[in-house]
């Protein structure tokens, strides 16, 4: 269980070698770039470097992505192109130019057809409206006093037009036509959200109206005299619309045809541009001075060694500058955190991450969380059937996209633990008569399960205190490690108190420490904690915390916490009993309904619903309780968190 050691690293060399390095980093996804002035803050050359950002290849890759999207094909999954230095931006841009020309021509054609379609629809719609009042479309071209303009515009612009008409001599009418609405194809129709409008005004007001239409961005549909006559008949108008729709359908297939005809070349081009884009993402913070390039970032220390070897062997003109983590920590740089755990443990990183990522240098609690989470969950939810149902349910939810894969993994592990404890408790779907308990049945062994849960709590809290001591030692905060209530003194105090209590309440109370010795020892330890600041200052020349009254209160608070945190673990037993009790209640209810007519069916229904409630509701409650024990009782003892996740540039674009 570990937070991976990091180093700050800068590569200084010619462009082609730096690009090669970037390609390597991309291949192994082990490099998080940072601004060069971070690493080279004190370097005399720092002031002379120009920094750049912006990825030129974004625009190129987007054009290709658009092509594939228009072709309704999945974008290719490119492999790294290794002959990178031979590809220049200008060459690639030129090759993309060909694609762009095709797309531009296609877009222009499609736009033209869509405008034509909109015109056809507006005409058809208005023709239907005119037909209802017994007028022909061609009459619009011959009105002696009133001009009519048809068009479409957004709802917001319609409101503006309508309001302006209150102060101007024109009458706008919104045309509601259900056929028009149905005919809209929202996928291909750019103006699908526009509404249709007819505006009536005097002929002498035409020029002003045109300005108003322009002001409200109305898409005016204009017809010449010939069109008025030609499409006076609704059938002809329908035919015209169908013709245009077919042309649009054909036009929509152009990108797919283009991709099919040029597939290999386009895929090669895509791979090349994709690789370049990823490389430029990686060195987005690079700096440049003449022909010298600087690339800085974070890299796992082990990988720095291999990178150094590679550069020494193959890149004679490149220099590496490395800063070790402890140096950077002293200078207060925020070093990113990368966790490295075994596959089973890795799934529990999400639980830790939910709280906060460990800061660099802090102990990674994931391993302990993995084991303890399963232990606590199983303890409180122990049942073979319920555990199995939880596992299957999680698979289902994950497949449906209702649960993330990390949490699903955690729940499956917890479900397996619940099954294990089910075997120990002898419980299968709440029935304790199918298998015999390998350990104990919670409902029948309250006196045994309670002390066990307290014992688990003591062990867990002690582990938390040990982690605190370790973390403090890593930060060289010796005062905190030894003399604070959560340090070594506190740990001894706690164990003495617990041990004495356990012996006194056990079978041989006479074995307990003598009251005088116990009291003197405890008081001494307590006094040391109270005067922890003074003691720490004397011995290790450090403070423990703020000191004074605050410190005294914090000691008392810590003592109370020992008690309350320990007592908190009673919930392990409590929820185990709760689980058994709920199952018992479900069985009882199902037996009650068995005696009525159709009782077997009701019995099955009550049983099913009851089991689902137990699994769902109790499962959720137990999950929350487990989280609470982890976050509050355990993390509260030692964990600072606040780490920033290591974010290397990945091959796959996000």
């Amino acid at each position: 269980m570990s937070v991976v050691g990091m180093s700050g690293i800068s590569f200084v060399g010619p462009r082609n070698e730096i690009e090669e390095i970037a390609l390597n980093c991309l291949k192994y996804e082990n490099f998080e770039p940072m601004k060069p002035d971070v690493m080279l803050e004190h370097h005399p050359l720092n002031q002379r470097f120009e920094t750049f950002k912006g990825n030129r290849y974004d625009a190129l890759i987007e054009k290709l992505d658009e092509l594939w999207q228009r072709a309704e094909l999945p974008t290719p999954k490119p492999k790294i192109v290794t002959r990178l230095p031979l590809l220049h931006f200008e060459d690639l841009a030129e090759r993309i130019g060909g694609v762009t020309r095709v797309m531009d021509a296609w877009r222009a054609k499609l736009s033209e057809l869509q405008s034509e379609r909109e015109k056809c629809r507006v005409r058809l719609s208005f023709m239907r409206v005119l037909n209802e009042i017994g007028h022909k479309f061609s009459k619009l071209s011959k009105t002696p006093y009133v001009a009519v303009t048809l068009g479409t515009l957004t709802e917001d612009n319609w409101q503006r037009l309508h309001e302006t008409s209150l102060a101007a001599p024109f009458l706008p009418m919104r045309i509601e036509d259900s056929e028009y609405e149905k005919e809209k194809d929202r996928e291909t129709d750019m103006w699908a959200d526009n509404i249709m409008v007819a505006a009536l005004y005097g002929h002498n007001y035409r020029e002003d109206m045109n300005k108003i239409f322009s002001s409200v961005h109305m898409r005016v549909v204009q017809f010449d005299k010939e069109e008025y006559e030609k499409y006076d008949n609704i059938d002809a108008a329908y035919y015209q619309l169908e013709t245009v729709e077919s042309e649009i359908e054909l036009c929509m297939k152009t990108p797919a045809r283009f991709v099919a005809d040029n597939r290999m070349e386009l895929e090669k081009l895509y791979a090349a541009i994709y690789t370049k884009q990823r490389v430029e993402s990686l060195w987005r913070h690079h700096a440049e001075m003449s022909d010298v390039y600087v690339l800085s970032g974070w890299m796992p220390t082990d990988d720095c060694y291999w990178m150094n070897k590679l550069i020494t062997e193959k890149m004679s003109k490149t220099m590496i500058i490395t800063e070790k983590d402890h140096v950077l920590q002293k200078e207060r740089w925020e070093i990113p955190t990368l966790l490295h755990n075994l596959p089973f443990i890795r799934r529990f990183q999400e639980i830790v991450r939910l709280y906060s990522l460990p800061s660099y240098g802090e102990l990674d609690p994931t391993f302990v969380v993995a084991l303890s989470f399963c232990l606590f969950f199983g303890f409180m939810f122990g049942d073979v059937g319920h555990g199995l149902a939880l596992i299957l349910g999680t698979f289902f939810l994950e497949k449906k996209g209702l649960m993330g894969s990390a949490i699903a993994s955690v729940m499956r592990a917890s479900g397996a633990s619940a099954m294990l404890f089910g075997v120990l408790y002898g419980s299968v779907f709440g029935n304790e008569e199918i298998i015999a308990p390998l350990w104990l049945s919670p409902m029948h062994s309250v006196d045994s399960i309670l002390p066990v849960s307290i014992g688990v709590g003591v062990a867990f809290l002690s582990l938390g205190l040990c982690f605190k001591i370790e973390n403090s030692a890593r930060r060289e905060e010796w005062g905190e490690a030894f003399f604070s209530p959560e340090g070594l003194i506190g740990l001894v105090f706690y164990w003495l108190a617990v041990g004495q209590t356990a012996v006194l309440m056990g079978d041989n109370p006479a074995d307990a420490l003598s009251p005088q010795f116990f009291t003197v020892t405890m008081v001494t330890l307590f006094v040391v904690m109270i005067f922890g600041n003074g003691v720490a200052k004397l011995i290790v020349h450090e403070k423990v915390d703020d000191g004074g009254v605050v410190h005294v209160f914090s000691v008392f608070h810590a003592m109370l916490n020992f008690l309350s945190n320990t007592a908190s673990f009673v919930r392990l037993a409590a929820f185990a009993l709760n689980h058994a009790g709920l199952c018992g209640a479900v069985f009882m209810l199902s037996e009650m309904v068995e005696n009525v007519p159709g009782g077997k069916i009701y019995h099955a229904i009550v049983m099913l619903i009851g089991q689902l409630i137990v699994i769902g509701l109790e499962g959720m409650i137990v999950f929350i309780q487990t989280l609470r024990l982890e976050y509050y009782e355990f993390f509260g003892k030692f964990y600072r968190g606040g780490g920033r996740e290591f974010a290397p540039v990945l091959w796959k674009r996000s």
Partner: protein, 382 residues
């Protein structure tokens, strides 16, 4: 009776306390006396602007970067009050802060048209100064990389705004690069850009006013006063500019305005739009905005002076509304918005002083047009 949560009172108290940190007229006067912009920046360092101006190089203060950093400081002020706000207030505050996104979009449009991209290099690092801030309206990287108006539109996340801007953008201008734009007919082009920019403002003020409409009690009344005054003055100002500078007809001018209304209802706006450009002020007689658009003979001759005087009056009107909220003694989130308004005008005054010093403008005239400090400064100068 409107209930005021603890957060509202705390935010209100903080706003009143921070009001005391705004630069006094004496301090503004001292800034006006400086010889160079670097001297002004030096004087501002060490105060509330230190965290933003501290990064500037004394030898090479770029105007765009400096103004951007000052704008950031208003943003930071707004974010300070977020923890004190309940859900409704936070929504309003977030909308208020969206003005930063709107200004960034406008700056990008100006850069695109003007051809200067260099001011945005520092945007990223400048925004890092304001922790917890995210641009909500727009994808920052995409916006800053945009090379055409269409690309600017595509960088906008909010669909309603994106559609509105798409509708406002003439297809001829969509994909033009900055080089292509230089060859266009200026008048038509400027009208198109004016349309574009007013669409942004319409969206912003409209959303703000809608949020203010839902607020109840004393807080709602005060917030509507703050936002409503902006809405009214924006409508009047747009009609004025449309009629005066773009030669639009009254009807066209009326199509530009926001649909939100406060005191200046549609009748008043119609009268204003249909009045002859030289006597537009007569349409506002009897309203609270009378006097703003009144000009004397001297103003008639000097267009630049007239426009500066008008802008100053509009700003002072908004300032007086904000001051009135404080004077009323009410407790609530309205005091936060009032304070942010005062802060905004403080920044504008500082920017005006910097312009004045940079270009050697007459200090007396500059003092006349300052928003917060002008009355005291005028006396001092005279």
């Amino acid at each position: 009776m409107a209930s005021i949560g603890g957060g509202g009172i705390a935010g209100s108290a903080k706003a009143k306390a921070r009001r005391g940190t705004l630069l006094s007229p004496e301090e503004m006067s001292a800034l006006l006396e400086q010889q160079t912009v670097s001297d002004i920046v030096d004087r501002l360092r060490g105060g509330s602007f230190d965290v933003f101006l501290g990064r500037l190089s004394a030898d090479n203060i770029r105007r765009g970067e400096l103004e951007f950093l000052l704008d950031i400081s208003i943003l930071a002020e707004g974010l300070i009050f977020r923890p004190y706000a309940d859900a409704q207030d936070r929504n309003l505050l977030d909308l208020w802060i969206e003005s930063f996104d709107i200004e960034l979009i406008k700056n990008c449009i100006r850069s695109l048209i003007g051809g200067s991209q260099s001011e945005h290099i520092s945007t990223d690092s400048a925004l890092e100064l304001v922790s917890g801030f995210r641009l909500t309206l727009v994808d920052q990287d995409r916006l800053l990389a945009a090379n055409s108006l269409r690309e600017i539109i595509l960088s906008i996340k909010k669909e309603s705004l994106r559609l509105a801007l798409s509708a406002a953008l003439p297809s001829a201008l969509e994909n033009l690069s900055p080089d292509d734009m230089k060859d266009l007919d200026r008048a038509g082009f400027q009208k198109a850009i004016f349309d574009f920019v007013t669409t942004l403002d319409r969206y912003y003020l409209g959303a703000l006013y809608e949020a203010a409409k839902d607020m109840g009690g004393e807080k709602g009344r005060a917030v509507r006063m703050l936002v409503g005054a902006r809405v009214d003055l924006t409508n009047l100002y747009w009609i004025y500019r449309a009629r005066r500078f773009f030669g639009l007809s009254p009807e066209e001018a009326l199509t530009l305005i926001l649909r939100a209304r406060y005191h200046a209802d549609f009748d008043i706006l119609t009268k204003f739009a249909f009045a002859e450009p030289n006597v537009m002020a007569s349409a506002l007689v009897g309203t609270i905005y009378s006097g703003i658009f009144e000009f004397n003979e001297e103003d008639g001759k000097n267009v630049a002076l007239r426009e500066m005087r008008l802008e100053s009056r509009v700003s002072k009107m908004l300032l007086s509304v904000a001051e009135r909220v404080f004077i009323s003694g009410s407790q609530g989130f309205q005091n936060v918005l009032a304070y942010l308004t005062l802060k905004e005008f403080e920044i504008r005054d500082i920017t005006a002083i910097m312009e004045s010093v940079r270009y050697g403008f007459d200090k007396n005239k500059t003092a006349m047009f300052l928003i917060r400090a002008s009355r005291s400064l005028e006396k001092e100068m005279n």
